[in-house]
Structure formats: structure tokens, C-alpha cells
């Protein structure tokens, strides 16, 4: 059996799945329940000077019938007295000595940082996570993302913490910044042991179109919140990759953002995370999701022959390159497997209107046809196709040639003028603009005007 345990910057955990600092880690009751269910660690709901919260705190983004593909909150850090939290941390650690309990912290002055680090340490916390990420409410008070956006201040606070910390220190980064590696490097300069990312993204998840107010609505008003859930995974993955690849960061990364199942976790790990944190999925489905996550991860590791998590941490990183280093001689072409096609023609309309007019319809069949010479290999048709493996993108170059933009630039073989002959679209066929007019009008008229007994006329004014 593969070994799922990790040693994350000195914090040991039976598996890489931690609950992120958030409502699910608000109390000892919840954390014990989570450990009981199989979670490896928990980052406690951020400790500090307790806050007062508003009622109506969360907002959701639904996609068609799928609830909470995105989620946001305007809740602040823990509203419970520090003493209660610390007592419960101690209780949890006594009951679960081998699980990871990390104290998330957010205070202001150097003295406060020293005090809270010492007290958390005394309570038995295995490590600290400095919350420099929260993008709502707390940042208005000069904390959270307000710190994460100022590398110098971030570094200074990390230095304060390191003055007293005897346990590993993780710095939690905000994605509300143009270059995530800058605060990451500041964390390293300050002496932090690890980073975690991403915190939530500043957001408005929706607007009530009857009340004219953003969600979540508090007495007819709203404010920006912090966005998370499955929708943010792509942003998180990119930022994890950026930190993992940067030569001056070189810190263990706890990956956060859109992790709901083992696959999401594996993707974070392949891009450099060596622990992962989960919040929204636990808030949506409860702690029980951990069983699918650990079993899926285990099966993946068995299938791939990985013995430990470290066998594949960052394994995809060598394959993530700057665009200019991609092989421009590589060519794929769409291939519709006729026997699988159900004739929805989504590929046709997508390519026709949204891409390169490389699919045609033929009379007598609903199966579209690829116009190979027009196909640029963009993948769009295969992405919209609802049938698995019906449209495949097949390699059509012979695989012997390799040429990158960088190499072309170095060889002086790139377009530099507005009408440069060397540009890609220069010799690519496009239809005459006016050929578009009226092409599909008969298919978009209201029902009564459709071809019935040969008539297409729309009665005027009806």
C-alpha cells in the first residue's frame, strides 16, 4: 500500500488532506469530527482579536442545475474568545497526537503576534499559518490581504513571528495581486518555512436583479467577498505552479483552491503542492468526502507505482513552459468519429461562429465534416462535443521537427510589421464577410415562421 503520510516543512500528517482555515475548523467539535472521518490535518479558523460577524454571509454561483460551482463569503476570522479556541486545540491534540493542527493567525502589532504565537504554541499547535490572504473586511482594517499585497510588510511580520516561533510557519498568500511570487519571496526572505495558496479571490458572486444588490445581501446591501470553490481551481493551479517553479521561492507549498476530489488534489500535487487544503467541498458535502479523496489518491498511486506523495510532487512542472518554448511544428487536426456522432452539430456551430470555419455540414447527414485544410487544431470542437472520444485531436505532423517562437525570434524569423508575410493568419483562408449574411436565418426564426409547406414568411407585426 502506498504511504499517504507527509512531513510538510516539519509538520507531520497521516495524509496530505487538511481542512483549510474556515468555518469547518471553527471549533474542536468540528475538527475532532473531521479527524474521526479521516482528515489528516486542520488549519484552525483564524485566531486573533475575536470579531463580530454579520448575518447573511455566503453567496453561491450555480451553473445550470449544479449548485456552488463558485462560492463566496463575507465572514471574518474567529468570533470566539482565544482562550476557548486554544483550550480546544489542546484537547484535539491530546486525542489526535499524530494529526496536524495548525493555528491560523491574524493580528496587528508585533506584541500581539508574539503573544498569539506563544499561546498557540503552548496549546500544542503543530505549526502556524499566517493569514495574509483574507480579501474582505479584515483587509479594510489593514490585515489579511492588505498585508499579502505589500511584500515588505509581509516580510516584516514574518520576521516578528520567527522571533518567537518554535514550530513551522506557513504564510498564506492572497491571489489578489499581479505576481504571486513576490509575496512568496518576501515570505522566504522573512524566514517562513512554507507557503499556502490561494486564499479567496475578491469577488461579487452575483447581483439580485430584483433587489439591485450584490449577494450575499445584508439588509438590502452587500459587499465584496472572497471567492472559492471549484471555479477557482484553474487560478490556484497556475499560482501554485508559479511559486513552485520560481527559483527564489523554494518553499514547500500547501495547495488550496477548488479541491473537491482526489483528482483535484493530484493536480495540485503534480504542480508542486505537498499538502492540500479543502474548504468549500467540506462546507457543501460535509467531512465524509475525505473517504473518496484518500481512496482515489491511494488508487492513483497504486496505478502509477508511486510509494509516497513525494514521488509525484511537482511531476508536471517540467512540462509547464513559457509559451515561447512550445513546439510550433506540432500539429493536431480534429477527427470526427462518425460512428459515435449523435448529430448535435455543436462542433459545427462552435467552429463556424467561434473559431475557424473548419467544419462543414453536408446534405443528407447530420454528421459534420472537418475541413482539414482550415483546421488549426484549436480543440474547440472536441471540447464542446458531448460524446466521449467522438472528436479526437490527432497528431498530423510527422513528429520530427521542433521549432519554438524563441528560436524563431533568435533567428529573426518572426513577424514585426503590421502586414508581415510571416504572420500566421496571413495565408489562412477566411470566407468573404458578406457570405455570412442570412446564412442561418431560416434556422433561427420563431416557430411559426419556419419552413412549413414551403412558407417562410413572417406575418408583419404579429
Amino acid at each position: 500500500m502506498p504511504d499517504l503520510s507527509i512531513n510538510f516543512a516539519g509538520i507531520k500528517s497521516p495524509n496530505p488532506f487538511w481542512l483549510a482555515s474556515a468555518p469547518p475548523t471553527n471549533s474542536g467539535y468540528q475538527v475532532m469530527k473531521a479527524f474521526d472521518a479521516g482528515w489528516g490535518g486542520a488549519v484552525w479558523k483564524t485566531l486573533g482579536v475575536p470579531v463580530v460577524n454579520v448575518s447573511s454571509r455566503y453567496g453561491g454561483v450555480n451553473y445550470r442545475d449544479k449548485r456552488l460551482v463558485g462560492f463566496n463569503n463575507i465572514e471574518l476570522i474567529s468570533d470566539r474568545p482565544l482562550a476557548d479556541n486554544l483550550r480546544e486545540i489542546e484537547e484535539v491534540k491530546k486525542r489526535f497526537p499524530n494529526h496536524a493542527v495548525i493555528a491560523s493567525l491574524m493580528v496587528q502589532s508585533r506584541q500581539e503576534w508574539h503573544d498569539i504565537v506563544r499561546q498557540s504554541q503552548d496549546a500544542g499547535a503543530d505549526g502556524f499559518e499566517l493569514n495574509f490572504g483574507c480579501p474582505h473586511g479584515m483587509c479594510e482594517r489593514g490585515m489579511g490581504s492588505a498585508v499579502g499585497q505589500e511584500p515588505k510588510i509581509l516580510q516584516m511580520i514574518v520576521e516578528w513571528v520567527m522571533e518567537v516561533a518554535q514550530k513551522p510557519v506557513i504564510v498564506k498568500l492572497t491571489p489578489n495581486i499581479s505576481d504571486i511570487t513576490e509575496p512568496a519571496m518576501a515570505a522566504r526572505r522573512g524566514g517562513a518555512d512554507a507557503i499556502s495558496l490561494i486564499n479567496t479571490i475578491q469577488s461579487i458572486v452575483g447581483v439580485d436583479i430584483d433587489q439591485f444588490a450584490p449577494y450575499p445581501i445584508v439588509d438590502g446591501k452587500g459587499t465584496n467577498g472572497g471567492y472559492c470553490g471549484p471555479a477557482v481551481k484553474p487560478i490556484a493551479l497556475n499560482m501554485v505552479k508559479n511559486c513552485a517553479q520560481h527559483p527564489d521561492v523554494r518553499l514547500p507549498i500547501s495547495g488550496i483552491g477548488g479541491i473537491e476530489n482526489w483528482r483535484d488534489a493530484v493536480e495540485h500535487i503534480l504542480l508542486g503542492a505537498s499538502s492540500v487544503q479543502v474548504c468549500t467541498a467540506a462546507m457543501h458535502f460535509g467531512f465524509g468526502i475525505i473517504r473518496e479523496m484518500t481512496s482515489g489518491l491511494e488508487q492513483y498511486m497504486v496505478d502509477k507505482g508511486f510509494n509516497t506523495i513525494y514521488d509525484f510532487v511537482g511531476k508536471a512542472l517540467p512540462n509547464v513552459l513559457p509559451w515561447e518554448q512550445l513546439n510550433m511544428k506540432y500539429k493536431v487536426t480534429a477527427n470526427i468519429h462518425e460512428e459515435k456522432c449523435i448529430g448535435c452539430q455543436l462542433c459545427y456551430t462552435a467552429c463556424e461562429d467561434g473559431a475557424h470555419q473548419a467544419i462543414r455540414l453536408n446534405a443528407g447527414t447530420r454528421v459534420p465534416e472537418i475541413i482539414e485544410e482550415n483546421c488549426v487544431g484549436c480543440n474547440l470542437c472536441s471540447l464542446v462535443c458531448p460524446v466521449e472520444d467522438c472528436i479526437t485531436m490527432d497528431r498530423t505532423d510527422d513528429g520530427t521537427q521542433h521549432l519554438t517562437w524563441r528560436e524563431r525570434t533568435e533567428a529573426g524569423d518572426v513577424p514585426v510589421e503590421f502586414n508581415d508575410e510571416k504572420a500566421g493568419g496571413r495565408h489562412h483562408w477566411v470566407p468573404e464577410p458578406t457570405a455570412a449574411l442570412g446564412k442561418e436565418r431560416h434556422k433561427t426564426l420563431p416557430g411559426k415562421a419556419r419552413v412549413l409547406n414551403g412558407e417562410t414568411e413572417v406575418p408583419a407585426g404579429v
Partner: protein
């Protein structure tokens, strides 16, 4: 057998005749509309005789715009709610859904359609209205799907419209001929009331137009006359004993059933003669009324039945037994039906031939003849210059519905020989425009 016990109250009747396509709630409509792929040039639209833009209304339901969805539906078909419930969607829109090719359950288009239309009917939201009076008037004979659809479209074009109906309620077979588990009287009539409230055509019930004199009156008073008269009574078979008590026509039996529900009595053993969709309905209905045995007798083989497969499945599902390759020779009994004398048949080169000496009597205490409806040729002969084809159907222009008597226009069963509600609704819309073109000359 007897899957169903005889209903003795309205509640029991409703249980036995539970709706095949019950209403969706918002959640189910959201889930179902979310499954739609929104095909390009969608096959479901092409399969709909009224050409409803189905992906459009499904997308509108999905985005919470039920009113817009209903508008999309009604723009194409004034019997939007009825069609959602009574259309043979399995062979039309849902049968064309591309999911069928993926062995995935097709989108429940009919139920989504009724979901949207029911919402606006319940809300009473006005989607359409008559255009300003153009000073001309049209008489519509028959308040069925053809007549009412024509009335709506003509009002939208500015005509004054009077609808004359022999029966006491509108919507024709929707309320008098469709199986009760497909649509309830209440919802059929609610849609009629909704349409009339918006378009404001006049209706005259219990007002049969059945004489030359009445036709002459209409001809004098109106600029055009629309014939939406449908079909007539069940064809006589010309068999000895056809007049025995408890030998009835399917159309008449179903009309009774729709109006009187559990008060309609059915035999203990019923033989239904015929292999079409009406035969399947009559057989299913007999079983649901508590008949212990229902036999469906058809003179050809099972595969040659005209009924849709799903309709036969529905009948089989309630315990109806098929008796194939038999032709009725006589209804036997002393005053009351006691059985049907059949002769066995075989089909050679497409021709049914009786097998000599193979006669037998299948006992029963009720016979329902579902052997087609007669054309109303006698009435139609009162209209001067009106041509009928060899099958008694009105001959009319395919684009305009204009008959050989230029003042008369036709749609629906009387023209097409007998089809679905959706066909009548679609044809009548076109014919109304044909009338408009004719009167605008």
C-alpha cells in the same frame, strides 16, 4: 388480470387514470432543461409539425424566463400546453432528440413545454392580443385545435371572429377524444380560456352548423369561412348484430368517458376491434375502468398495427391482450352483446384473406369498435363547389388552406384525414394567413 378495480368515485378515477406526463416542479424543470445540449439546427424542431423552437424555450426555462419560454411555444403553436401533454412526443420531438443515439434518455420536451405554458396560464399573463380591427370578419366552424388556432391567428391579424361549435365545450378532441391520462378536462379548458381572454374571439357553443340555410347565413355575414370540423362518428362495420346493446364506437365511448369519468360503465370482458392509436386508448381505458379482461382484436399481424409502439406498450402494460389475424364476422348475443364471431385471417402479398372454416366465437359482454371515423361528407356536400378527394377529405391548397370554394378554407382532420392535435394547430395557423392573404387582395 384486472390490474385496476372499478373506480367508484372521482378520486378513484383519478388514481386509475393518473397523468402519464404529470406536471414538473421548478426543480425538475431546472434539472431537465439543464440536460439539453442546445443542438444546432435541432432535430427536435424539425420533428415538430408546428416547428416550435424547442432549444430556445428550454434555454429560457433554464434561465428562469418561463414567460419567454411560453411565448416561444405559443408563437408557434396555440395549443402549446395541450400538445406538451397529448403529442406523441416519442415519435416527434423526443424521438428526434440526439440523446437517443447515445442511448441516453431523451429530454422530456413535452413535459417541459407544459411546464412553461402552465405557468403562464396559471399566472394569466397576457402574451398576445388582437391587432386593431381591420373591418373584416371570419366564421370558424368547429372549436377544435384547428378552429381555435385559426381564431387566435385571425384575431392577431385584426379579424372579427365567431366560432361555432356543436358541442358545449371548446378544444375538440382534446377534451372529447384524448385518453384521460394524457390531459385533464380542466387543463384543456384552462388553455382555451387563456387563449380566448387574450385574443377575444366570440364562441357560440351548442350551435351546430348543419344546414344549407345556416351556411348561407354565414356566407352572407362573413368574409370567409374556416372549416375546422374534424371527423364524424365511428365507421359502421356493417356486421350483423352491430346494433346490440354494449356495442359502441371508440370515439363515442371516449367522449362519454371524458365527460362522465367513473360514471361510465364498462363490461367485464371487453373486445376492442382495431389496431390504431384509438383502439389502444379504448383498450387501456377499459382496463383502467376495471374490466377483468380486455382483448384487442386486429385483422392483421401485430407488426402491421397502425398504432405507435409506445401506445401498444401502454395497453399491454395495463394487461390488454392482443388477438391478431382475426376479422369480426358477427356480433353475437340476445339483445346484449355476448361475444364476437371471428374468422381467422392470413395476409398474403399484403392482402388479408379469411381462412375458410376457421370461425370461432370469442365471448365478451362489451364491444368497442375502433375502426376509424367517418368523414362528414354529407355536411360538406352542402357547400357549393367544395371538392373532396377519393377518401372524403377536403381538397385545399397546401399553402393557404383555400378550398375549391374560394370563400371556404380548411385545416385539421377534415383536411388531413385524421392526424394529431399539433398538425391541426400548425395547419390552422398557416390557413389563417392564407385567409389573410386572400382577403387582403
Amino acid at each position: 388480470m384486472a390490474e385496476f378495480s372499478t373506480p367508484t368515485s372521482e378520486q378513484e378515477f383519478q388514481l386509475n387514470f393518473a397523468q402519464l406526463k404529470p406536471h414538473m416542479n421548478r426543480t425538475e424543470a431546472l434539472y431537465e432543461s439543464s440536460r439539453c445540449l442546445f443542438c444546432f439546427d435541432a432535430p427536435c424542431i424539425k420533428a415538430c409539425p408546428s416547428g416550435i423552437d424547442i432549444p430556445q424555450f428550454i434555454r429560457q426555462i433554464n434561465s428562469g424566463n418561463e414567460t419567454g419560454a411560453a411565448r416561444t411555444i405559443y408563437e408557434a403553436n396555440y395549443f402549446g400546453n395541450a400538445c406538451g401533454k397529448v403529442c406523441p412526443t416519442e415519435v416527434l420531438c423526443e424521438g428526434a432528440c440526439v440523446y437517443n443515439l447515445q442511448d441516453v434518455k431523451p429530454i422530456e420536451i413535452g413535459r417541459l413545454q407544459s411546464y412553461a405554458t402552465t405557468k403562464v396560464i396559471e399566472s394569466g399573463k397576457k402574451l398576445f392580443g388582437p391587432r386593431a380591427d381591420n373591418g373584416k370578419s371570419v366564421a370558424v366552424i368547429g372549436a377544435g385545435p384547428a378552429g381555435i388556432s385559426a381564431a387566435c391567428e385571425l384575431r392577431a391579424l385584426g379579424y372579427a371572429v365567431d366560432v361555432f361549435e356543436a358541442k358545449s365545450q371548446p378544444s375538440g378532441l382534446t377534451v372529447y377524444g384524448v385518453a384521460p391520462y394524457k390531459i385533464t378536462n380542466e387543463e384543456a379548458l384552462a388553455e382555451m380560456a387563456y387563449l380566448q381572454a387574450q385574443f377575444g374571439y366570440n364562441t357560440h357553443f351548442n350551435s351546430p352548423i348543419n344546414s344549407r340555410g345556416k351556411l348561407a347565413e354565414l356566407e352572407n355575414k362573413y368574409d370567409a369561412i374556416f372549416l375546422g370540423i374534424g371527423l364524424g362518428r365511428t365507421n359502421e362495420l356493417g356486421l350483423p348484430g352491430e346494433d346490440k346493446i354494449n356495442c359502441t364506437g371508440a370515439v363515442e365511448f371516449i367522449a362519454e368517458l371524458r365527460q362522465h369519468h367513473h360514471e361510465v360503465a364498462v363490461g367485464r370482458k371487453v373486445i376492442v376491434l382495431g389496431g390504431g392509436n384509438t383502439a389502444m386508448d379504448a383498450a387501456s381505458e377499459s382496463a383502467r375502468l376495471g374490466a377483468e379482461q380486455v382483448v384487442l382484436a386486429y385483422r392483421r399481424g401485430k407488426d402491421e398495427m397502425g398504432a405507435y409502439e409506445f401506445e401498444y406498450d401502454l395497453a399491454k402494460g395495463v394487461g390488454v391482450k392482443g388477438l391478431f389475424n382475426v376479422a369480426p364476422v358477427e356480433i353475437v348475443g340476445n339483445g346484449y352483446v355476448a361475444g364476437v364471431r371471428f374468422v381467422r385471417t392470413e395476409t398474403t402479398d399484403g392482402k388479408v384473406q379469411e381462412i375458410a372454416g376457421s370461425e370461432f366465437v370469442e365471448p365478451c359482454d362489451m364491444v368497442i369498435k375502433a375502426t376509424g371515423q367517418a368523414k362528414q361528407t354529407e355536411f360538406l356536400s352542402l357547400i357549393s363547389g367544395l371538392k373532396l378527394d377519393g377518401k372524403g377529405r377536403i381538397v385545399a391548397d397546401a399553402h393557404t388552406g383555400q378550398t375549391s370554394n374560394p370563400k371556404y378554407f380548411a385545416s385539421g382532420d377534415a383536411w388531413n384525414g385524421g392526424a394529431e392535435v399539433v398538425n391541426a394547430a400548425a395547419e390552422a395557423k398557416l390557413t389563417a394567413r392564407g385567409i389573410h392573404a386572400y382577403l387582403s387582395k
